[in-house]
Amino acid sequence: MKSLKLTVNGKYHEVLVGEHEMLSNVIREKIGLTGTKIGCEQGSCGACTVLVNKEPVLSCITPALKVEDAEITTIEGLSTDKGLHKLQEKFVEKGAIQCGFCTPGMVMVALDHINKNPKTTKDGIKEALAGNVCRCTGYKKIIDAVVEYANENQSPVHPVKDLGGKVGVGRPYIEASKKVQGLADYADDYKLKNALHVKFARSIFPHAKIISIDKSDAFQIQGVRYIATGEELPVKFGVLPISRDETALAIDKVRYVGEIVAAVAADTEEIAERACKLIRVKYEPLKEFLTIDDSIHDVGSNEKIHAHVKFNNNVHKKTELRFGDQQQGLKEAEVVSKMSFEMEGVSHGFTEPHAATAYWDENGLTIITATQVTHYLHRTLAKTLEVPLSRVRVIKPYVGGGFGGKSDPFPHEIIISHIARKTGKPVRVRLSREEVFLTNHGRHPSRMTIQLGANRDGTLKVLDADVVIDGGAYGSFGIVTSYYNGVLLQAPYKLNNFGFRTFRVYTNKPQCGAMRGHGAVNSRFAVESLIDDIAHKIKMDPVELRMKNFLDPDSLTVGQYRITSNGSRESIQKVADQSDWKNKYGKMKYGHGFGVGCGFFISGSALPIIRNELPQSTVHLKVDFDGRVLITSGANDIGQGSDTMLAIIVAEVLGISTDKIFVIGADTLLTPVDLGSYSSRVTFMAGNAAKNAAENLRGEISEAVLKGKEIPSDELNFMEDRIFSNDKRINLSWSEAIDVLTANRGAVSVSGKYISPKLGGDFKGAGAGLSPSYSFGSCVAEVKIDTKTGQVKLLNVWGAHDCGKAINPLAVEGQLEGSWHMGIGQALSEEMKYYKGLLVNNNFLDYKTPTTLDTPDLYTNIIETIDPEGPFGAKECGEGALHPVIPAIANAIYDAVGVRVKKLPIKSEYVLELIKQKEQSKQEVSI
């Protein structure tokens, strides 16, 4: 250890640091400024950027001793007693902050760039931010904020905008200013006294029997406090009750490279890590199943990955639904397109690695963890730790993005809870980026053959899909994924003859699960490609063809989905107009093209994962003498802005401003149950519950102020912080009204709830994909292709999404832009690459999330159709928007060079190969 002198944000520090300790660690752990984030530890994401003597530096790869005597500015040092730095204000105002985890780094880099290049341009800003990864925003609002700051920097007057709180008026997140200052605490920012640190010993075999685990050498290290192995936590879990196939630590055998075999708790992370290397595990390798092909065939009964699988194979689930007769339909169709597709797996790539802290006290277990779904974790912890539900408290702190990747209960959460109980100490864990990738639960690698039949007039007649998805070692959400690959093809087009069959196979790889656009992204890409092909075959404009086939509002699909509001037509019209489709599509030079795609998605699953009679969402409101309304909701704000959405809805109903509202979200001790942030359900379900609660509170207030007065309650108005009757006989300020309400009664608490209506058919599988409402959308993409290298340059994406009603348009735009960005990544560069079961690209350098420079201009359009059952007409916007963008890109490639893309990601070498094949076949024809 060495003594290091530093001045951080103007304050002098002298700290003891390890000789090779990183500056990021010193700033976060020793100086306690946790606004500096650690996303990758390899200088590939930019979240850890600080200024050292006014120069930006990646603190995660900078040894602390390198910066001796330096003056350091962290994100916490930018704001002053006069308020936020103007650039921070811009980030807040423009909605550039979603999960907020990349924000500190973005702000530091942007600030440095503008200080040094006051006359910079938008391109200059994009270039400067190219080393900072954001997974939420698609960079658009970040770039807008920085551009606007650069332009206004000179002007001395800076108007502070009213933040507002009305439905339909865009506003920043309620916590945005906390996030932009680095003051929002994420899971790894909680530091409990005497906490132990946990590290894991992980399997180095894809499939092997565990013969023995020798912990003795590891125990020799001073500072090691506990070593946990599988038999201590024998209860199986899994997010779906129908596939609980996982234990927290491997028992008897390992099923993928990276599975946790032992967990060491020690005084420091370094000690725990060293001890892990000394745990000697003897394995007996078993036959490996690494691909779909390996797993689809019959195997010996003792070779199976899971003993519980019914037959002698590794098929986890077969799902099949048929409406009509597909064989007959395909015979009768005037034109048929049949193609086979292959898609690699992709991962969520959220910027905040998983982290958690657990402790036990007189109230039982408390765990603070980066989770999207506190409720299922609550249940899982009670089950696996074998304690009553009443002894488990799950707290969600600020979460740095999830996209489905934080929606399962995870082994590390169970393990640290267990060790905390055993040792009586708080226990912390944070996963490295490599471990985050190994934890995966990302999109399934898929293979599918799909046939689509139509008439020559463009009417779609029949669709048959045959799908296999590679689930990896465990179940996760996989059964739902299996269904979604099929059932979510029955819209947005009318199809009376429709069927699918999906197999989900187990393989010896990290498990796949739910990821943004769950289950239907790959099959949607396939179907939209087929539609494009049919359009070419019958020489019809693909926009027109789609227009002809869209389901109408207030209709039923063949599988009995109830379609209510439907903005498909408006969406495609919007992007066609905006992109000048009529004059561009099919009319560009060779190598330059336009493509279109559509999509739809559920607005929350109508059925809960665990069958019970609880409402899908309950929201509590409490108002006390001070007039502040406290919203408590179990919904998980993970950066998508759901806390703000709840505040806006309650403010709207009560006619008050959001500064009178406070939200506590996702703490299972304090908040009523909400099923969590998955299946794009929160705005619809928690939003409806909040609206219901606010109406109940409004009823209580009405009753109190109308007491003894002969005024009908419908003549009472709640507006602009006042409550008044039409005749103004009642004319109270909000606080006067609250005085009346609480007199002789005290604080008033009310509850609101959302229960989905009974929907759907009564056949097996009818529940899959049922939702009280569906979102719809469309994208047009413009590409240029280098026909000698195959490189695809995505120039523009125009997108439109029917979200019913945008409660907070700024947040909705952010969701759409983030979805498109993620789709662009899957389309062009992202994949989970394996070598013999080992994930090869397990870091932010090798996993190719698009940078600012790889992200084209995004044109964002919100389509509003006012859903009859959504809160104020709102429905989902967080996932469905991803669906159309991938096929739009693929179809643009067809328009540009006439080749049909059937693989994801669309790497340049693949495009080149297709171009060559095409040229060759042309030559053959001419011979």
Binding site: E41, E55, V57, L58, L845
Partner: protein, 316 residues
């Protein structure tokens, strides 16, 4: 268990740095910007107990000029190269190459010397300790097999510097100081082509400066293949230079354990030169792109480079 004593030293002069190195046997590593070394250290590819941070040695941060050379101190940061007018005026291709290294943030720390000495890379080697154990250690981490090729003899970890191919195309030299003294060497001569030990330098060696000849004028075209427009290491770097006497030099990076050089003159058949350049590198499947694709791109990039050169030269 004993944990080896770690140390962090900050010499003020090249001489002091070399003497620190001498005292630390084999377990030391010089650190300039650290953007390469620290990442390798995080992954466990770099295990030196002693880090000798040379970034405080001011004599290595100068850019000077004599009648023969522009002397660029090895610690000049990639992002700072643009601050020297002679770069823009005489060697714009160096600026272009610098601009395409890694990300803007990394370029603010990474140095030109560090880039030249950047460790060779391979998808099977640049992994965590745990990962390499799981895959079965490769030749480059004391194992007995090259995972990329299945061979037992040669390591094909790829050379990934983007600055070095340009500097080689400009016939640059290095001024080196080591425990034995000081000497000048042609840049291209320091690379061995052996993926296990890619550079032929004494362990204590420090690059004082890069000597770029100013007596000759070059026209140069630089191209880089990478999956994304920022952050990524090269999958293929091509540089073609032609001097006033019509001497052509092709340098390739990212496709072999060392920079691959093919020479010719203006009277050579360009096709032949390109053919040689495609044949010469030992490309293996250790990259985002396949071996065959990168091989094919050599020819595409070079054809384009020659076309661009022709255009530039005609205009001139």
């Amino acid at each position: 268990m004993n944990v080896a004593q770690k140390s962090y030293l900050k010499p003020r002069s090249v001489e002091e740095a070399i003497s620190f190195a001498g005292k630390n046997g084999s377990s030391f590593r010089y650190l300039a910007g650290g953007t390469d070394v620290m990442v390798n250290k995080f992954q466990g590819n770099e295990e030196a107990n002693c880090l000798i941070d040379i970034s405080g040695i001011n004599e290595l941060k100068q850019v000077t000029r004599d009648e023969n050379f522009l002397k660029v101190g090895s610690l000049v940061k990639l992002d700072d190269l643009k601050n020297y007018p002679e770069m823009e005026n005489e060697f714009p291709v160096l600026l272009q190459a610098a601009q395409e290294v890694a990300s803007p943030m990394l370029r603010k720390t990474a140095t030109i010397g560090g880039n030249i000495l950047c460790e060779n890379r391979c998808v099977f080697y640049n992994q965590s300790e745990w990962w390499r154990e799981a895959v079965g250690y490769c030749l480059k981490c004391d194992g007995d097999i090259c995972i990329a090729t299945g061979g037992k003899k040669n390591c094909f970890s790829k050379f990934v510097s983007d600055m070095a191919p340009v500097l080689i195309a400009l016939n640059s030299f290095l001024e080196i100081a080591d425990a034995e003294g000081e000497y000048k060497v042609r840049l291209e001569d320091i690379y061995t082509g052996n993926g296990l030990k890619p550079k032929e330098l004494n362990q204590t060696a420090i690059i004082r400066s890069i000597l770029i000849p100013v007596t000759e004028r070059y026209t140069c075209v630089f191209k880089k293949l990478r999956p994304r427009e920022a952050v990524d290491f090269t999958s293929l770097t091509t540089v073609v230079s032609i001097d006033d006497h019509g001497k052509i030099k092709i340098v390739l990076g990212g496709v072999d354990p060392k920079p691959v050089v093919v020479g010719g003159t203006i009277s050579s058949h360009v096709e032949k030169l390109i053919e040689q350049a495609v044949k010469k590198p030992r490309i293996v499947d250790n990259d985002f792109y396949t071996r065959l694709y990168r091989k094919e791109m050599i020819s595409v990039f070079l054809k384009r480079s020659f076309e661009e050169l022709r255009n530039i030269l005609t205009i001139k």
